[in-house]
Every structure is written in structure tokens, then in C-alpha cells.
């Protein structure tokens, strides 16, 4: 028993070292901008860089659009599968997992060939439609996570009874989805949204190949050309990821499936 506990502590200590040393080292490195003295100079430079503002704003807007479109696509689909088309569940689940199977770089390669400026649907012909294509790419990337979150949320509530109750009060399908189902899976949707945000904000491959001024390619550019700023950017990005995940955890504790006990 004690030997097992000692072994567990040893494994855990090694794990903590492996996972915290890089974080500590990144933070320490980001403070080294001035020779011989720790300073926040690298952060000052990064945060004052207009390209940081532009690319960060661009990626934030893109992430928000991705979340909206993703929710509009996933919630009605998962709802309808649960309510009316359970026989299609395996097919839909399989499709939502495809973005984890097909590498992102392969997907964007296909987009570039199908939607290039000389094709029938020339989405890369101008910047606005390329933005649209990039957003759809991100909806695809986020789909496995968004679908699983929403599906779990829908399973925790009694979709059928809620729908029947709303219908008997004369609600239309739009009203049911927007005012009955969505509020009930709010926590699940928000979890999916934060995860989507964490994925999209620093995404490199798709943004870079579609040649859009997103935060991921900016990070790569700074990494290739500067010494201490990348570490500062990594600390900032990690803080964002951590913030998103912490919000998911906080939300998870308030999930209706856990506290109210829908069944």
C-alpha cells in the first residue's frame, strides 16, 4: 500500500515537472528581453504591435462567427436527430467525427482546389468570401467538439416532453428551438463555444494556407523572426486557453443534468 502510494507520488511529480517546467520556462524566457534584468518589455512590445491588435481582432471575430454558425448548424440537427430521426444518429455521429480523422491540412487542400478562383464556386476570389471559407473551415474543425457537447446536453433533458409541451401551447418550431430547447442546453452550448474559441484563436494551418491575416500565422511569423516576443505571446495564448477551459469547468458544475436531475 505505501509502496504504491510512493510510486504514485513519483509518477505525479514527474508529470508535474514535465507539464509545469515548460510553462515556467516560457514565462521566465518572456521576461529576459532586457539583458541581465527581468522586465515585461517583451509584453509591452507585443501588446503595442498594431499587427497583434489586427490579427487578434480578426481571429476573435472569426471565432465568434464560427460559434454562431456552428451552433445554428449543430443544435437543430442534434435536436432533430434526438426527436425524430434516431435511426440517422450513427451516420451523423460518424460525420461529425470525420474532422478528427481527416487532417486539417488535407481538408484545406481540398477547399483550395474546389473553391479556387477558377472553379464554379470561387470562394477564394476575394477576401470577404475567403473569410467565409475560413469560417466554414473552422466550423468543420470545431464540429466534433460542438456536436458532442450539444448532444450530451440534449440527452440530459427530456427533449420529447419539452417539445410536446411547447407544441400543445401552440409554439412554432422556431420558437421551440430558440425559446425552449436552446435555454435548456445553454451550458452545453457555451462549453462547446469556449472550446471552439480556444481552437480557433491560434489556429495556424488553415488561416495560413488561405492566406488570411489571422492570429496563428502572426504567431508563426513572430516566432520565426524574434527572440523573446514569442514567449510572451505563448504566455498570453496559454492564458486565453486556460481561461476558456476554466469557464467550461465552472459551467459544467451548473449543468442541469448534474444538479436538477432531469430523469
Amino acid at each position: 500500500m505505501t509502496r504504491r502510494t510512493i510510486g504514485s507520488w513519483a509518477v505525479m511529480t514527474l508529470g508535474v515537472l514535465y507539464f509545469f517546467l515548460p510553462l515556467l520556462a516560457t514565462f521566465e524566457f518572456s521576461l529576459r528581453y532586457r539583458r541581465g534584468v527581468y522586465s515585461f518589455e517583451a509584453y509591452r512590445i507585443v501588446l503595442g504591435d498594431p499587427r497583434f491588435h489586427e490579427t487578434f481582432l480578426y481571429s476573435t471575430l472569426l471565432a465568434l462567427a464560427t460559434i454562431v454558425v456552428g451552433v445554428l448548424l449543430v443544435v437543430p440537427t442534434a435536436y432533430w436527430i434526438q426527436l425524430r430521426l434516431p435511426r440517422l444518429r450513427p451516420t451523423v455521429e460518424f460525420i461529425t467525427l470525420l474532422p478528427l480523422v481527416i487532417p486539417a491540412i488535407v481538408l484545406v487542400f481540398g477547399y483550395l482546389r474546389i473553391y479556387n478562383s477558377s472553379s464554379i464556386l470561387p470562394m477564394t476570389a476575394n477576401d470577404r468570401t475567403t473569410d467565409l471559407l475560413l469560417m466554414f473551415s473552422y466550423v468543420t474543425l470545431a464540429m466534433p467538439y460542438m456536436y458532442r457537447a450539444v448532444d450530451a446536453g440534449l440527452r440530459a433533458i427530456d427533449v420529447r416532453t419539452l417539445t410536446e409541451a411547447a407544441q400543445s401551447l401552440g409554439a412554432s418550431w422556431g420558437t421551440i428551438l430558440l425559446r425552449v430547447i436552446l435555454p435548456n442546453v445553454q451550458v452545453a452550448v457555451l462549453s462547446g463555444a469556449f472550446l471552439t474559441f480556444a481552437i480557433v484563436i491560434g489556429e495556424f494551418t488553415m488561416a495560413s494556407l488561405l492566406d488570411r491575416p489571422a492570429f496563428g500565422p502572426y504567431l508563426q511569423l513572430i516566432g520565426a523572426n524574434r527572440a523573446y516576443e514569442p514567449a510572451a505571446l505563448a504566455v498570453i495564448t496559454f492564458a486565453i486557453t486556460w481561461g476558456c477551459m476554466a469557464l467550461i469547468q465552472v459551467l459544467g458544475r451548473r449543468a442541469p443534468g448534474k444538479t436538477a436531475g432531469a430523469h
Binding site: 502510494t5 510510486g7 504514485s8 507520488w9 509518477v11 505525479m12 508529470g15 514535465y18 507539464f19 517546467l21 515548460p22 510553462l23 515556467l24 520556462a25 521566465e28 524566457f29 448548424l73 440537427t77 425524430r84 430521426l85 440517422l88 451523423v92 467525427l97 480523422v101 481527416i102 487532417p103 486539417a104 491540412i105 488535407v106 481538408l107 484545406v108 487542400f109 481540398g110 477547399y111 483550395l112 482546389r113 474546389i114 466554414f136 473551415s137 420529447r160 419539452l162 410536446e164 409541451a165 407544441q167 400543445s168 491560434g202 495556424f204 494551418t205 494556407l209 496563428g216 504567431l219 508563426q220 516566432g223 520565426a224 514569442p230 514567449a231 505563448a234 496559454f238 486556460w242 477551459m245
Partner: protein, 300 residues
């Protein structure tokens, strides 16, 4: 109350829907299937078909044959090696971490802390991860410098280089280990305490317990998740690109260069390259799904 009110007054919910409403019901999932068609099926099919065509669109197996070009084969091989190393490393360490946190006799707060952290770390990939490891194990990284000043030990003298095979595998493990922890934890939970007690009542040792009970129950999950980690690393590019630039010739970096500037001087060979990647990640994911359904026999 809602049940009594709704049961008689809601004909659309009635089970056994008449066939004429069949198409109308499918309309509800039409947007999803359209989206999947345009952004998943069509692009993938285009690349797969293109892999079997020449520049004029005629059927050929020439591109598949040309995949055996040394540059391409080597890129596939390095990718497979890096992915295997990081998958096995991630799986072994992730398993021990999860096991230690769940049944290692540690304080209760360890487990939720580990799970929360794993959720964060499994999403901390891409370009910033490369920065973090450069700051840690790069030539002027904290750990490198500390080892020299404390123990006069320079890891770069031993032939280690962060911008190489083992450096990349070690970096990938930063998101592989947490993913393993997240997937293994429920499986380890499924090992019932009674099984261990039954084994020891029958005179079995800890080794017997692992050999005849725990491992036979866990191996589909262990192997399946290792394959999932393999596919996870195989398709990754951002970390490798930010870490090594284009000095380490892995398949995703070669494909990136091909997409940007047709470095292979044959568009259709590029499609075949992508086809090979889909095949490899597809096979390992399929094996994962098969093994996962096998493991559900014992672990509920």
C-alpha cells in the same frame, strides 16, 4: 402535468410516422448534410479521385507509384516514427498518470485537478507549444541553461536537439499525455475493486491481477487510444512548422510546401500525398473505433 396535457394533443409526435412525412422529416437535417457534403465529403473525394488521375484527368496509377520517390517515402517514414514515438510515450506516461491519480492512494483532490489540467493541456498545441519548448529545451532555454550551470551538463553535447526527431516527439507528448489521461480515466474507473479482491482471495499476487484481469480488460482501450494518439500526431503541422521550420521533413510539412508552391512539380502527386495521409489516419481511427467497441464489453 406537461405529460398529461401533451399526450393527446400532439399528433406530430405520434410514433410510427406515415411514409409521406418521410421526406419532410429528413428536411430537418438537410443543412447539416449539405454542409458535410461541401466541406467534408466533396473536398476529400476530390483529392482521392485526383490521386488517381493525371494532369489531363485520365485514370492512372502513376501518382501512387510516384509516392515511392525517396523524398516522399522518407517524409512518410519520419512522420510515422515521430507519431509512433509520441503516441507510445504519451500512452505509457498518460496511463501511469491516470492510474496513479485514480487508484494510487493519492489525496482526493489530485484526480479532479489532473483532469482539469488535462482538458487545458490537450488543447495547448500549435505554434505557442513550440515557443514553450524552445524556451525550455532550446539552446538558451531555461532547463538547458540550468542543467549547464547546476550540473555542468549540456544536453546539446549528448547529441540532443530540440529541432529534431526526439525534440518533436517530446514536444508532441505535451498534448498526447493529457489526451491519454482523459480517455483512460473512465476505463480505469471501470476496473472494479471486487476483481482485485477476488484475485487476492484466490491467492493471486498483484502481478497475477494485472496479467489475468486488469490488462485483458484494459488492452483494447490502451491499444485503441495509442492508435488515436498516433493519428492525432500524424496530422499535426503547426507545432512542427513553428519548431523546426522546414528542416525536419515530415509529411505534413511536405504537403504544406506542395500546397504553397507545387514543390513536387505535379499537382496530382500532391493529391496522392493527401490520399496516403487519409489512408493512414483513417485506418488507425477505424482500428480505434473497433477496439473501443470491444472494450465496452467489460467497461461500462
Amino acid at each position: 402535468m406537461s405529460q398529461t396535457a401533451s399526450a393527446p394533443t400532439s399528433p406530430p409526435i405520434a410514433s410510427g410516422a406515415p411514409p409521406r412525412r418521410f421526406t419532410w422529416e429528413l428536411l430537418g437535417v438537410l443543412p447539416f448534410f449539405l454542409f458535410a457534403f461541401f466541406f467534408l465529403i466533396l473536398p476529400t473525394t476530390f483529392l482521392i479521385v485526383g490521386g488517381f488521375q493525371d494532369a489531363e484527368g485520365r485514370f492512372t496509377l502513376g501518382n501512387i507509384r510516384d509516392l515511392s520517390h525517396p523524398t516522399i517515402l522518407k517524409a512518410y517514414w519520419i512522420s510515422i516514427q515521430v507519431s509512433t514515438a509520441s503516441a507510445i510515450g504519451g500512452a505509457v506516461i498518460g496511463f501511469f498518470l491516470a492510474y496513479a491519480a485514480i487508484s494510487g492512494g493519492l489525496p482526493r483532490w489530485v484526480r479532479p485537478t489532473l483532469m482539469t489540467f488535462s482538458g487545458v493541456a490537450s488543447n495547448f498545441a500549435g505554434v505557442p507549444l513550440a515557443f514553450a519548448f524552445l524556451a525550455t529545451l532550446g539552446r538558451t532555454g531555461l532547463v538547458t541553461v540550468l542543467l549547464v550551470s547546476l550540473f555542468d551538463f549540456n544536453i546539446y553535447r549528448t547529441g540532443f536537439n530540440l529541432l529534431s526527431f526526439w525534440g518533436l516527439a517530446l514536444t508532441y507528448m505535451y498534448f498526447q499525455i493529457p489526451l491519454m489521461v482523459l480517455i483512460m480515466a473512465p476505463a480505469i474507473d471501470g476496473l472494479r475493486r471486487e476483481w482485485r479482491e477476488a484475485a487476492s482471495n484466490l491467492g493471486g499476487s498483484a502481478v497475477d491481477y494485472w496479467r489475468y484481469i486488469a490488462l485483458p480488460v484494459l488492452w483494447p482501450t490502451l491499444l485503441g487510444t495509442t492508435l488515436l494518439l498516433f493519428a492525432n500526431a500524424f496530422g499535426a503541422i503547426a507545432t512542427a512548422y513553428a519548431l523546426t521550420g522546414s528542416s525536419l521533413n515530415i509529411i505534413t510539412i511536405l504537403l504544406y510546401a506542395q500546397i504553397r508552391g507545387d514543390v513536387l512539380h505535379n499537382q496530382n502527386l500532391g493529391y496522392a500525398l493527401a490520399l496516403g495521409m487519409i489512408l493512414i489516419t483513417g485506418l488507425s481511427n477505424t482500428a480505434y473505433i473497433v477496439l473501443r467497441s470491444r472494450s465496452e464489453r467489460w467497461l461500462k
